[in-house]
Symmetry: D3
């Protein structure tokens, strides 16, 4: 009755969507088939894509994964424009809250399959119910404190929720690559598998979960995600506002340093 192909599957440049006959949807974050470098466009796309995924009842299980042997590796800062501009940041704030709510509202089991570096937006993975990571996978946050801004987009909320606040705070203030094994010991990763096997193991788990009835699968997700969804509503909007203020301060401090060179005034 359902086609394995949703009409939105081809709509995105940064996400490749494919669904098998059992309804297992694999979402691959990518840039031209290789590892995704996050851009402003990708930021907008994931919001829409995750909403469409969440509303499509033909999706029975969702697997989030990367491409080219990595999860997500970098950020293309200039693509966001002047983050000190309140209008620019307003959009970042709104999209940043919305995407996490949209992933949380995927009402079927979500599995993250991590190979390589999950160094940007690893909170997407932490919104899954279960994370399968390859031995060589690493987690890090290259996009916030190390780059001069507040880790306010949900990365603290999700890591704090799954690893504990003490670990999350140290991890985010002094970012170092965290091995899959350590993430397992912290309770974040559910299974560590050989390199290259994360997706296939995720598919095995998907097949296992599919044995439960439809409503059971959907409502188990609804039940499990509720406390985190509440934390998202309570924390992430504020976090993103603080991150925006810090981004404006970063721009200002960089301008101050560069001003002797180029008295350019308003342009970030």
């Amino acid at each position: 009755m359902q086609t394995p192909q949703g009409d939105y599957f081809a709509a995105y440049r940064s996400l490749k969507l494919s669904r098998d006959v059992n309804g297992v949807l694999v979402v691959e974050f990518h840039s031209n088939g290789g590892p995704l470098t996050f851009t402003a466009q990708a930021h907008t796309e994931v919001v829409d894509a995750c909403y469409r995924i969440s509303q499509d009842r033909a999706n029975k299980i969702v697997i989030l994964t990367g491409a080219g042997g990595e999860f997500i590796t970098g950020v293309d800062w200039p693509s966001f424009g002047n983050v000190a501009d309140p209008t620019v940041w307003s959009q970042v704030h709104d999209e940043g809250v919305q995407v996490l709510e949209n992933i949380a509202n995927i009402r079927v089991p979500v599995i993250a399959a991590i190979e390589g570096r999950a160094h940007v937006h690893s909170e997407y993975a932490l919104l899954a119910n279960v994370i399968v990571a390859a031995e060589g996978a690493t987690f890090q946050d290259v996009a916030h404190f190390a780059a001069g801004v507040v880790p306010g987009d949900g990365i603290f909320t999700t890591w704090s929720y799954r690893a504990g606040a003490g670990r999350a705070e140290a991890f985010l203030l002094n970012p170092q690559p965290l091995t899959a094994r350590t993430a397992y010991e912290w309770g974040v990763v559910a299974e560590v598998v050989p390199n290259g096997k994360a997706l296939s193991r995720a598919r095995e788990l998907a097949a296992l979960y599919l044995k439960a009835p439809e409503v059971t699968r959907r409502d188990t997700r609804v039940h499990f995600i509720r406390p985190l969804k509440e934390r998202i509503v309570r924390e992430v909007g504020y976090g993103l506002s603080l991150e925006g203020a810090s981004a404006a301060d970063l721009v200002k401090s960089m301008q101050a340093k560069s001003e002797p060179l180029a008295q350019k005034g308003k342009s970030a």
Copy 2:
């Protein structure tokens, strides 16, 4: 002044209650003296028993334990009747919320002493302040996702609260026996003891706690349980409603499968 025997002690078939002269109450879940297989009657009894226990100020410490070298091992599904019937499930919902609130309202230190399998309703044990487990003890959830229904009765809430959400979700979606040692590493079990020694170690801890004044003992429990009690109020009713919907879907799917064979209609 207080008799060591409460008038409700003999009222239950599935709980054996005994209290020593110091007010240490031992609650044994059992079926005819052996390991408890959970029935609808037991479900109703534990609600009442835990309330009476909570209100009886002669209980100074409460120890929850099993019988026959096990904690709780199985469920007698047919005893619950047709769980797709909304009237039947309404009672399951109401009792399921009430029993957890009643255990949470036991206002003296609660210790769980676990031998063997805690494979059903292990959330009762996780409502204790301290869990002592024998080396051979195992934790599992055979009654929910593996059986086709949402783990909504507090098992997720308590495991998530004590072990972290990541571990709880993986543990409940793909139930495998969890050793006492692993539960210790997860922060759920406080002490691992040789097989057969869980109850005696629990009694030693009880004796230790009895050195504190009455109000200190009671109010320490009140203080420690508060955050979990709040989560119970916020999550478990909804969880049980979702579990009820999933149970109805399970019944429907089983009926669909069996209909070609036996056009039996409504019987679960």
Copy 3:
């Protein structure tokens, strides 16, 4: 532009405050230069000092530490007077809530550097973002359940928040020295360093954090502490009220024991 010396720096007997030219404030809890034994006067002083510290924007990073090779080691009970007197406890309650809110409101990164025994008020350290502990450091709670009163002043709230509720409850009901290594495994301590090196490592981290812009540093703290601040507001006042009731019961039970000897009436 800022003087390295705030006007309140010399105001306290139990806290030594010193700030370097980069704005790194080191707060040493001490008694006459040696390890701090907590007194009623110290209780009042930390409230005021932490508020002043929190409001002084010249503080860029705050390091909490002890003196004489220890963090905080003991309590001078008699200095509090009769804790069964409701007026006396009212002040303990008010100050006890206020000090935790004041530390939480220090809106720059806070690092705790622990040498030796953190056996009293370790919750001050757990309000830091990051704890650096020397190998020989130990954590314990000698001031509550072991002494006959409810651990209600935030020690449960902070340990539960950072180590998990199961570990916190067992740790507080049967207090034993917890090694730095175990606290690290529990996710409470971020780094274990050789004895005598906690403060110097904390200074290194401070230097690292100072690379981020001012607003980034401040707002990262604001974001990270929010969930714990909410728990403080929700739990600690009640906890202290319960602790007060238990203290009154302790006084009463001690009077009951001593009455045959010395019919002294009201004195605690």
Copy 4:
């Protein structure tokens, strides 16, 4: 199938319970058939009675009302003993929280029918879904601030929840009789009826509600009471602890005044 008479109906001195053939249970608070003056015994009884009522699925609608043309009029203070004794107050605290939770857990529509003075424990009435008040009914709080103690037993929580915090605070700090009409304008009373007609109007509403199916009736109550139940769990225990501290201070201040006359020491 159900008998109109529960086995607990005759168990209480302060509550008269009667149930008609449709399952409408009328609970009358009384002292020897006349208006109830609250005693320590009544405090204990309402806890047990409300629990039994909440668990008895033969109760389809519950109506709370008074006797002798009044709701509840006074308190017999001496019956509580020395409220400055921590053991005594511990019981008041525990029962005070439990009774509100038990009323909140009555999982069928609850209607309060108020004649005359609701001057003590009006929060019981405010836990109903709907309050019908006679024209001459008045609400007041004679038992707390006017008597020298904190209004901490749920009277603030329920009035704040239903009338708004501003009105509740003024009403409780400077207690004056509040007319049924004003309580109606505040949104607390749903209907004002002629004197003597509150119970009969409550019965009419009960008959109306009975038209809905069993599960609908039960679960509407469950849904409506949830936010207030959460506030009870969060506020009332702490409120009662503060009330206990204030009661101890009241006893102390009264002793201080009377000591020159009668050096009686510890007796309240």
Copy 5:
């Protein structure tokens, strides 16, 4: 730069969308141009429409209104199919939560303009910041308790939030048309205008709000809706689950009545 016409404007049968050059979007709920009778299709459409509206930054102000001199007047029950089927209700539950979140996530000021009967899904109007109602407008809930099911879809949550819990509970248990004037006195309606003038007054307010800068307008909405959004996340999913259970019980009770006549029922 923006076209006054979004690409999704023509996508819905039950919603007419039109936007003026200033970005004021008027959303008219309708059935063939006349008053909307709610159908299952409409239920699905509003979810999608409100999401698209919320994400389209060309919308500067949103006005929700009805058609044919009414807001929303009725429900086409049969269009929902067998609401006792867990799969059917699962969709109702998911859409019912999602639509309220989507309206709450419209991050610009929302004004409701009410003419005539708001007798179904008035919670959509109560998610607006400001309600303008014509003198002859009435509010009622014909779709829940009066029809035999729990008012669990957010109607209680929103009315309780804006009118107070006491009024909401009585209003929903014994549904009667509530006049615009009374809704004004309850604080739900902000302005009462002559019949036929609600929309034009809403446009005046929109023009007034447009004087504020873009970010101010967006973030004022974000700030104002936050507490209600949190209540939606906490209450509405559970409410809809309870409503589903009650719907199943209603179907069962109707089948029981009709079975002697026509043994077929609607096949549960």
Copy 6:
């Protein structure tokens, strides 16, 4: 034992503090003895003053009032500097949260006595337990939406808490003077008195409250303010961040308008 004069009484330019022999502290907001126009300096002062007031146990009752027949009438915008500068706003954010927490932490009954215009920072008054307003008093919010910024500093939180969200949203989006009488009908004002009599009536209430014992007075405040304090912690920091973003957008839009005229760059 206590002097009627605290050492901080003379420390502020914008607050006049005086305390009678009974410990009733009157706090007058003023500018040179006349109505207070809010400046950046005043913003900083009220934070410190309210903290000192909250910690001084010699204050038994606190009355907040204005000067020159007004409460607070205006804002001196230029005194805040460039509110688009993230460093400037960081201070506004931190002080704005802190001052509300400090007023909430005044642990004795607080009464607001309002004459004339409470048109700026009326949330200070709404943090009192009881508001006495003169007949001619008016409430308005001239400092936010009408001035182009988000009402995020607690004005929405407090008005929503005391008047209901519907009224608060309309009041803040389309600010008009609200009479004392209407504020009374909304449940915000407790008593309306003749012009010029607000302070004397507040003193009468203070005398009445002083009849209760010390701990009763303190802990009643603690109990009553708790829910609002929790909302402050949850909402006001985020609100101020959003207000900051909107202020930056306002500055940007004003610069855009003025740029053709005067290419002045950064000055707000």
